[in-house]
């Protein structure tokens, strides 16, 4: 039996204004969606051209979920986005060229070539770099929330995890601890219905993952992850509730992973009809038509935005390509932190 609340769609401009977004904000959301997909599409091409070593992951289908949640974050809030959450980096303001530099293993990537793909984050933007092991960052985000609670700061931590990773103990320990202490954390599940090739019914046996929230003593909400405005509104509610001392929320964003697990995977195990059905709910297309119907998005505006994004991407790739590869002599540098490393805004 489902116990989580099912979020309503957001329909009118008036509702959106109530949720705190004006027209310029909406256009920024649109830009972020396009940029998110653009970075990953262009990255995929670079990968095929052999310019990106290792593997390559995209969050196609998850753009609205990641952009919607990140748009609801406050400037001092923090989070631990994962491999489907490029939109979070984009909304928080990462410079796209640094992402391409990261993809290509260059020194100007946030990890300076020490780690690949989306295993990166800019601390100054309130983000902590993910590790591969899922969902090991979830207890870390809970710790950020604990710090806010200890210092009585009105800040919130966002902890992302996939529905597959919900099967691991870190999810339980993190949520249970956050529940006992009513910490200011929002758990965001990117439920794209597949964990590599494993379907949801082999990962969990409850109806919604958000139903589990009740067992941890907080609220669960299921939202259509292809509807950026609905995601935004629900994330905003959850974040503000946490900020005001109302404890955690588990927000489950329903999407479909629209490509293989990574680009090597043709996803032949996903039924064709499933892709066809979800393709009709493409998050970018949905929001574009919503803007045209409800916010008078014009052809000229659309063209202008598309042009800007294209230029941003081309400039970014060019600049990233100019960034050097790391010097092998630096291999052993920086395993241990020095006291100066603590001299950062976030460590104070």
């Amino acid at each position: 039996m489902a116990v989580a609340r099912e979020a309503e769609p957001v329909s009118s401009l008036r509702e959106v204004k109530e949720a705190g977004l004006d027209r310029e904000d909406l256009l920024n959301v649109y830009r972020s969606l396009l940029l998110t997909r653009g970075i990953e599409d262009r990255g995929h091409i670079l990968y095929k051209q052999g310019k990106i070593p290792g593997s390559f992951y995209t969050g196609r289908g998850n753009e609205a979920a990641s952009v919607g949640v990140a748009t609801a974050m406050g400037p001092d809030d923090v989070g631990t986005p994962l491999h489907r959450d490029m939109g979070v980096h984009v909304v928080r303001g990462v410079e796209p060229w640094r992402i391409f530099a990261q993809y290509m293993g260059r020194v100007d990537g946030p990890t300076r070539g020490r780690d690949g793909n989306v295993h990166m984050a800019d601390n100054k933007l309130g983000l902590i770099a993910m590790v591969s092991h899922l969902p090991a960052m979830l207890p870390v985000a809970v710790g950020c929330a604990l710090a806010f609670r200890i210092r009585e700061e009105k800040r919130v931590a966002l902890a992302w995890f996939g529905e597959g990773a919900s099967a691991r103990g870190d999810t339980h320990e993190g949520m249970n601890f956050a529940g006992t202490r009513r910490l200011p954390v929002v758990f965001v599940c990117d439920n794209n219905q597949w964990a590599y090739s494993t379907p949801t019914h082999l990962e969990y046996a409850c109806e919604n993952l958000a139903d589990r929230a009740q067992a941890y003593g907080f609220d669960g909400v299921v939202v259509d992850g292809t509807d950026v405005l609905a995601v935004y509104r629900e994330a905003k509610r959850a974040i503000e509730k946490a900020r005001e001392g109302g404890g955690p929320t588990l927000l489950e964003c329903m999407t479909l992973r629209m490509e293989g697990h990574a680009v090597h995977d043709d996803a032949s195990y996903v039924p064709k009809e499933m892709f066809e059905e979800w393709a009709k709910r493409d998050p970018l297309e949905r929001f574009r038509s919503w803007l045209r119907e409800n916010a008078d998005l014009t052809d000229e505006e659309e063209e202008e935005i598309a042009g800007q994004i294209k230029k941003t991407l081309s400039d970014a790739i060019r600049r990233a390509d100019e960034s050097p590869l790391p010097n092998p002599d630096d291999l052993t540098e920086g395993v241990y932190a020095s006291p100066e490393d603590l001299d950062t805004p976030h460590h104070k």
């Binding site: 902590i128 710790g143 870190d170 993190g174 601890f177 932190a337 490393d341």
Partner: protein, 323 residues
């Protein structure tokens, strides 16, 4: 200066740091109202409140993982494992997250995990282990193993100050047995600097933690025949190669002693380093005395056989002297 137990020195050092630095908090199972399984944080909750002396659920992953998050947010967490053995449940958070964050993402993770370790009380396979070697193998972690009350305090302060994840192994068999003078004021003992526990000319014993006292007893018994130098490493990562090599070059004979099991133990690293760097000055092959490769057994005669005893060290020293 006052005479304190090893346990009291840890407790006082921790309390002083919490008084001095509001960013320091402690978290663990039963550490608040109850004061911890070994009472290291007795009275802390009254003094610092429930949000700086945090009773956590039985969740080692959440304890250590949350310390990482809080540290990145600017706090200085000190986690207590109820027993060092339970750190296995937080392996991933230490090894996968905390240890690698500086190297790959440039983010310092200043956390301390306190680990009551070691055997000698029929704690059995799950309450007696010395897992320091496993972690000494992990780049990005620091490992501290104090042997004396004064070091226990000074190394704890250094561990809290350090910008890295530090595993602080406190040996349970030293808690109340070992007493010594401990300065009242705040001071640090640097990580990576060994201490010569006993000076000697004929053989060097390299060891740490409770085995310092086992070695000391053996050295006393041989006093009239053999002059034994005991080097207490104090920390395994970083470890003081210089001090070890200097001593070995003086004595020309070395015995490496640890309570952890033998194969792949940290002693092997020390022996290999001596062979690589001071081979020419050796008059005998370096000897290892360590626990056999078994889990720690429960029943007293088995456990006694498992943990290196004074007689084992004596036999090793005699072999070396006679070589």
């Amino acid at each position: 200066m006052a005479v304190k137990t090893y346990l009291q020195a840890i407790s006082d050092g921790l309390r002083q740091e919490m008084q001095r630095d509001k960013r320091v908090y402690v978290i663990g199972e039963d550490i608040g109202v109850y004061g911890g399984a070994f009472k290291v944080t007795q009275g802390f909750q009254e003094e610092f409140g429930a949000w700086r002396v945090i009773d956590a659920p039985l969740s080692e992953t959440a304890i250590v993982g949350s310390c990482t998050g809080a540290a990145i947010m600017g706090l200085r967490p000190v986690a207590e494992m109820q027993f060092a053995d339970f750190i296995s449940c937080a392996w991933d958070q230490l090894v996968t997250v905390a240890a690698k964050q500086r190297y790959r993402a440039g983010t310092a993770v200043p956390i301390v995990v306190r680990l009551p370790s070691g055997g000698g009380f029929s704690g059995g396979p799950f309450h007696s282990q010395n897992p320091e070697s496993s972690f000494a193998h992990i780049p990005g972690l620091k490992i501290v193993c104090p042997a004396t009350p004064a070091d226990a305090k000074g190394l704890l302060v250094s561990a809290i100050e350090d910008p890295n994840p530090v595993l602080y192994f406190e040996h349970k068999h030293l808690y109340r047995r070992i007493k010594d003078e401990v300065p009242d004021e705040r001071y640090t003992v640097p990580l990576g600097k060994a201490r010569v526990h006993r000076e000697g000319d004929d053989v060097t014993v390299v060891t740490w933690g409770a085995m310092v006292y086992t070695a000391d007893e053996a050295a006393k018994q041989l006093e009239s025949d053999l002059s034994v130098e005991i080097v207490d490493l104090r920390s395994l990562s970083p470890w003081d190669k210089e001090a070890v090599l200097t001593s070995v070059e003086k004595t020309s004979r070395a015995l490496v002693l640890h309570e952890d099991t033998r194969t792949g133990g940290f002693g092997a690293e020390i022996v290999a380093t001596i062979m690589e760097e001071s081979f020419e000055s050796l008059d005998a092959p370096v000897k290892r005395v360590a626990a056999p490769d078994t889990p720690v057994p429960f029943s007293p005669p088995l456990e006694k056989k498992f943990i290196p005893q004074v007689e084992d060290v004596l036999a090793g020293l005699r072999d070396l002297a006679e070589y």
